[in-house]
């Protein structure tokens, strides 16, 4: 019951903040239109095929990444504005709190991914087939969980929002730009490939591409294996750091 109510709170907070919904949908839309139609002709001429097809899974992954990290980092606000204390003095374990919140954040982020998929559909994106669609949902859920837990871990060690800009510029943005969300990884300089291989989001983007447009760089087993393992690790790390929070 405690986990359910914590989950429910995250959902309610999301659909109540209309400005946040519009904001978090505006950005992927902008990226999709500006990059999709802007680079489309060049991409086509270079033999890459339809760029919107290639880009959409990357943009879906991006919107999930941003929202998931935000949901995790929201803990800082709860810490500052007292609400966290209310949950910490309740007769439940910190692990339950962490699980409830993370599931809530991840649900919201996954829903966002699905909405962006619809937007992409309007922009001309087409699935290669529906058979793999359930797996695409699994990938969205994994990316959501992974980065909500990541956000929770970060928020647990930070005391205020000062570091937030730093995290956006030096962590979240690089995670997105270096993940292969915008460009194919094949034929890149070696350094860039290595960086992309370290970036967890690469496997999420690649998994989505595999399940949505049937094109993959690493292959489905690698994507699924690495993403699941990392999600598991970060959930443990997030829980551990969350349990160490001192008010």
């Amino acid at each position: 019951m405690a986990i359910y109510i914590l989950w429910l709170r995250q959902i309610k907070r999301y659909y109540r903040s209309k400005s946040r919904i519009i904001g978090s949908l505006g950005q992927p839309l902008l990226f999709l239109l500006a990059f999709g139609f802007g680079f489309g002709p060049i991409f086509q001429r270079a033999g890459g095929g339809n760029y919107i097809q290639f880009l959409a899974p990357g943009i879906i992954a991006m919107s999930i990444l941003f929202l998931a990290i935000f949901s995790g980092i929201e803990i800082i606000w709860d810490k500052q504005f007292g609400f966290l204390k209310e949950t910490l003095v309740a007769p439940i374990s910190r692990l339950e709190i962490m699980i409830g919140r993370t599931l809530g954040g991840a649900t919201v982020a996954t829903a966002q991914g699905i909405i962006v998929l619809f937007i992409a559909y309007i922009a001309g994106f087409r699935l290669s087939g529906w058979a793999m669609f359930p797996f695409a949902l699994i990938f969205m859920a994994l990316i959501s969980l992974l980065f909500t837990a990541f956000g929770t871990a970060i928020a647990s060690v930070l005391d205020d929002m000062h570091g937030f800009q730093l995290i956006m510029n030096f962590l979240v943005m690089p995670l997105f730009f270096l993940s292969g969300a915008l460009f194919p990884l094949a034929g890149l300089p070696k350094t860039l490939v290595i960086i992309a291989e370290i970036d967890p989001l690469s496997y999420g983007v690649d998994g989505l591409r595999h399940t949505l447009i049937n094109a993959s760089h690493f292959g489905l087993p690698v994507d699924l294996g690495i993403l699941s393992a990392l999600t598991f690790l970060l959930l443990i790390l997030g829980s551990y750091l969350f349990s160490k929070i001192q008010i």
């Binding site: 907070r13 500052q80 609400f83 209310e86 007769p91």
Partner: protein
């Protein structure tokens, strides 16, 4: 109801709470006074399972906050110094959230929430988002929330801070009648000495981490040879203004206030 023996909390080289002992009898109102930075908050955090003591012993209703965290958490309700409501939820949802966290069943929860919200006169505004509430309404809601799970002890950390005299009076009426009718033990801190003088059966004064006096308001006045508790307090703790570094929470609070203007 509350028994504290030789309680100490050290942070690195700094001793925030230094070997304090006191007890609060069942069904009484107890005031815990002290200048800023004296160790009040640290003590409350230890009593309410948010912080583990360095040494010493605490018993709340016979239970140990270090070893039996969840048992102790069911025993008390708390109103924190800072508002700790979710502004994006309605009053009713805040209550629901609390009830569910404390494992109160749906049927009982529904009935109890109605009863308490009517008691603090917020029932007809239960579906408004808390962010539209005034400071006094928020405080009443927090008290209502703290009472939802039938606690035996109610902790109030500066419950009337920043409220006008009317609202303060109102809030103390609730607390007093709760104490009389339900026999709830009340532990509170305040900077308003007249509140302590009027409400508390017993008072403890803490300064620099040590309890420097305890007893009834009369005892403290006699001991210091003063006419009011305010004078007694100043006599005990000195007139010097305390230097205290603003914590991040405080600076955030300041910023939020400015943001709202």
């Amino acid at each position: 109801m509350i028994d504290v023996k030789k309680l100490t909390k050290k942070f690195d080289n700094f001793t925030a709470v230094d070997d304090i002992s006191f007890s609060v009898d069942k069904g009484t109102i107890f005031a815990f006074l002290g200048p800023n930075g004296a160790g009040k908050s640290t003590t409350i955090k230890m009593l309410t399972t948010l912080l583990n003591p360095t040494s010493g012993e605490i018993k709340l209703d016979g239970k140990d906050p270090v070893k039996e965290k969840n048992e102790v958490r069911k025993v008390f309700g708390i109103v924190f110094q800072d508002p700790s409501l979710d502004d994006e939820l309605t009053a009713y949802e805040n209550m629901e959230f609390h009830g569910a966290l404390y494992g109160i069943r749906k049927a009982e929860r529904t009935q109890k929430i109605e009863e308490i919200l009517k008691y603090v006169e917020l029932w007809n505004r239960k579906d408004e988002l808390v962010k539209h509430y005034s400071g006094g309404m928020k405080r009443r809601l927090e008290i209502a929330r703290g009472l939802l799970h039938h606690p035996k002890i109610l902790f109030l950390d500066e419950p009337t801070l920043g409220l006008d005299p009317q609202t303060r009076n109102h809030i103390w009426e609730y607390i007093k009648s709760l104490n009389e009718k339900e026999r709830i033990t009340v532990f509170f801190t305040t900077h308003y000495m007249e509140e302590a003088e009027q409400m508390a059966r017993k008072i403890a004064v803490i300064d620099h981490g040590k309890i420097i006096a305890q007893g009834t308001a009369e005892d403290l006045k006699k001991q210091t040879n003063t006419a009011s508790l305010e004078k007694a307090f100043l006599e005990l703790t000195g007139k010097e203004i305390r230097k205290e570094e603003a914590s991040t929470a405080e600076s955030m609070r300041m910023r939020r206030r400015m943001f709202r203007r």
